[in-house]
């Protein structure tokens, strides 16, 4: 597969940037002759792709300066149409006309009958109409590129006069990327499924902590960026891309958002598949792939949490896992400018694309889970470091705050104030264990807290941030509690679970930690024991 690059200016710097594609530049300024002449290299079998990347100002010639008269733009459109028809097996890539902003008519340019602006618009209308009816003519929007990045950054008069190079290196890089993405889109090689996290991705904040109506998602204020992101996602579903959810949350909380939060743009029906539970995300993604019967190499995963991203990237290398924007306000633009063209570029959008989600929802088939995931190896590479603080007076403010704010992974949900915590820290009958977490992605700070009633051998409070679930952090705190109880001569440790609307996640937590159930009250409170002597 070889490409011939035709131009009326020096486009040589683009050739190296298009690698690994093999691209050869045609003779300088012979773009029209090459398209029309049946004996030209463009017509030969050697090339199956022809790029026509031209300079509009040069084609316009004197017209740009107010002289009436034939310009070469009309000829180019006619020649492109003719060439494409004569060579249906060749892909011809061209771009829209884009004149520079140098206007000889200055402010009169818009109103004047010989306006460059209206001339350019008319030409583009005809070129676009031609591309619509010519299957092998692939058109890219040069005007949009210039508008986004700015003429000043993309054009260079120095290199233009020094060697007929119109563009800067930045422009050549943008052109190379755009051409590659457009060809992928034309060949229909884009990815098919976008798997999304929920908290701090589809809305701001954590629904399990804030509640379904108080997550950041709004038409006014900062929550607007998440709503705009949802709008962009909704638009993406109309191009035939499937959305799926993979979120660590209580399903009931998420259901409430879908049912009650009127700021949601997306509804359940917009998703081909939903996985809301506490399973490792790679397992859920494999599960989604099996259910939809699509390969993992057609998946993209977006999550604000770098650890989840790294886990998916390392266990499922076929899945594309882009970085998340540093600022949430960049989310909508980042998505439509970078993610969509890179992974979900489309050149043709058909009627069937509009209804793809419904079709897949109806056909969701269950296959056996056959993934071979090595989560242990990932955890080992994460370089987890936990630091345990016992009765640290410096951390009482943070500890009190954690008892106030943590709702999901919280066994008893006892809310304490700073003076309470001070009392526990100072008293010899209580111990306060605080755990700091960090891994190679950075420090999460204090993520786990236990308050022990030492003479009673009772765990008064046990809570953790949901961000670190499944990384063995719980065991470290329990281990420390056992050590402290033993020092007091306690042989039997007591644990409690007090149910709330939000802590269903840990209803069976103590069972998994070697405790046995002693009693269960009518209101769901459970009492546990574990022998530690």
């Amino acid at each position: 597969m070889k490409t011939l690059l035709l131009s009326n200016i020096n486009m040589q710097p683009l050739v190296a940037l298009l690698k690994p594609a093999e691209v050869v530049c045609g003779a300088y300024n012979s773009i029209l002759m090459d398209l029309v002449d049946p004996e030209s290299p463009a017509a030969s079998d050697e090339f199956d792709r022809v790029f026509c990347l031209f300079d509009t100002d040069s084609l316009l010639g004197d017209v740009a300066f107010g002289e009436e008269g034939p310009d070469q733009c009309e000829t180019l459109i006619a020649a492109l149409g003719q060439f494409c028809n004569r060579h249906p097996g060749k892909i011809v890539l061209a771009h829209t006309f884009c004149a520079s902003t140098s206007r000889w008519l200055s402010f009169a340019d818009l109103a004047h009958p010989q306006s460059l602006r209206s001339r350019e618009a008319a030409l583009n209308e005809r070129l676009i109409a031609l591309a619509r009816e010519t299957a092998n003519l692939l058109l890219i929007d040069l005007e949009a590129i210039v508008r986004r990045h700015g003429e000043a950054a993309l054009m260079s008069s120095t290199f233009w006069y020094a060697g007929r190079i119109r563009y800067t290196k930045q422009m050549f890089r943008i052109l190379a990327t755009t051409i590659q993405q457009a060809l992928e889109a034309y060949a229909n090689r884009s990815r098919k499924v976008l798997v999304l996290d929920l908290d701090n991705t589809l809305w701001g904040g954590i629904v399990g902590e804030l509640g379904p109506l108080d997550v950041a998602l709004s038409e006014e204020g900062g929550g607007r960026c998440f709503r705009d992101f949802q709008r962009a996602l909704k638009a993406l579903t109309k191009t035939g891309v499937l959305l799926a959810i993979c979120s660590k949350n209580n399903a009931a909380d998420v259901d409430e958002v879908f049912d009650r939060n009127e700021m949601m743009i997306l509804s359940r029906e917009d998703f081909a598949s939903l996985r809301v539970d506490w399973q490792p995300k790679p397992e859920n993604i494999v599960d989604i792939a099996n259910a939809l019967d699509l390969g993992l190499d057609s998946f993209v995963f977006i999550d604000d949490n770098p650890v989840e991203r790294a886990l998916v990237a390392s266990t499922l290398p076929e899945v594309a896992v882009p970085e998340f924007p540093r600022r949430v306000e960049d989310l909508p633009q980042w998505f439509s400018r970078e993610i969509v063209p890179r992974y979900f570029g489309k050149y043709f959008i058909g009627e069937e694309d509009r209804n793809k989600t419904a079709q897949y929802r109806a056909n969701e088939v269950r296959h056996t889970l056959s993934a071979n995931l090595d989560l242990g190896a990932f955890l080992a590479e994460l370089g987890i470091e936990c630091t345990l603080h016992v009765d640290s007076a410096d951390l009482v403010t943070r500890a009190a705050q954690m008892t106030q704010k943590t709702n999901q992974f919280n066994l008893t949900t006892r809310r304490y104030q700073v003076p309470d915590l001070k009392r526990f820290v100072d008293s010899t009958d209580h111990a306060v264990i605080l755990l700091d977490y960090k891994d190679r992605f950075g420090s999460e700070g204090a993520v786990g807290l236990a308050i022990l009633d030492l003479p009673a051998g009772r765990i008064d409070t046990f809570l953790m941030s949901c961000r670190v679930i499944g990384r063995g952090v719980e065991e470290r705190i329990i281990g420390k509690a056992i050590e402290l109880f033993r020092q007091r001569g306690i042989a039997k440790m007591v644990g409690e679970f007090i149910p709330t609307r939000k802590n269903g996640l840990v209803a069976s937590f103590y069972e998994g930690q070697g405790f046995s159930l002693v009693s269960q009250a009518e209101d769901g409170r459970k009492l546990y024991e574990r022998i530690i002597s």
Binding site: Q12, F159, A162, G163, T168
Partner: protein, 77 residues
């Protein structure tokens, strides 16, 4: 002209002209390197401008045709 600048410029030119770095030395110029033709030279200048965030004028492009000249320029940036 610093050694670091010479090393950087040699690496940049070798990459742009697609030749091994061993073919270039502090004494090389467009006269001693056949691949360093007018197109190659413009590619080198585009790359220098991009890499060092500087804006060359036409006169400079005409003069920066040796490793010595280019290394001297980036020492000043």
């Amino acid at each position: 002209m610093s050694e670091r600048a010479v090393r950087e410029i040699i690496a940049l030119i070798a990459a742009e002209l697609e030749i091994p770095e061993s073919r270039l030395s502090a004494a090389s110029s467009s006269d001693t390197t056949p691949e360093w033709d007018s197109v190659g030279h413009l590619n080198i200048c585009l790359a220098v401008q991009d890499r060092y965030g500087i804006s060359l004028d036409m006169e400079a492009i005409g003069e920066l045709t040796s490793i010595t000249a280019l290394a001297g320029l980036i020492d000043k940036t």
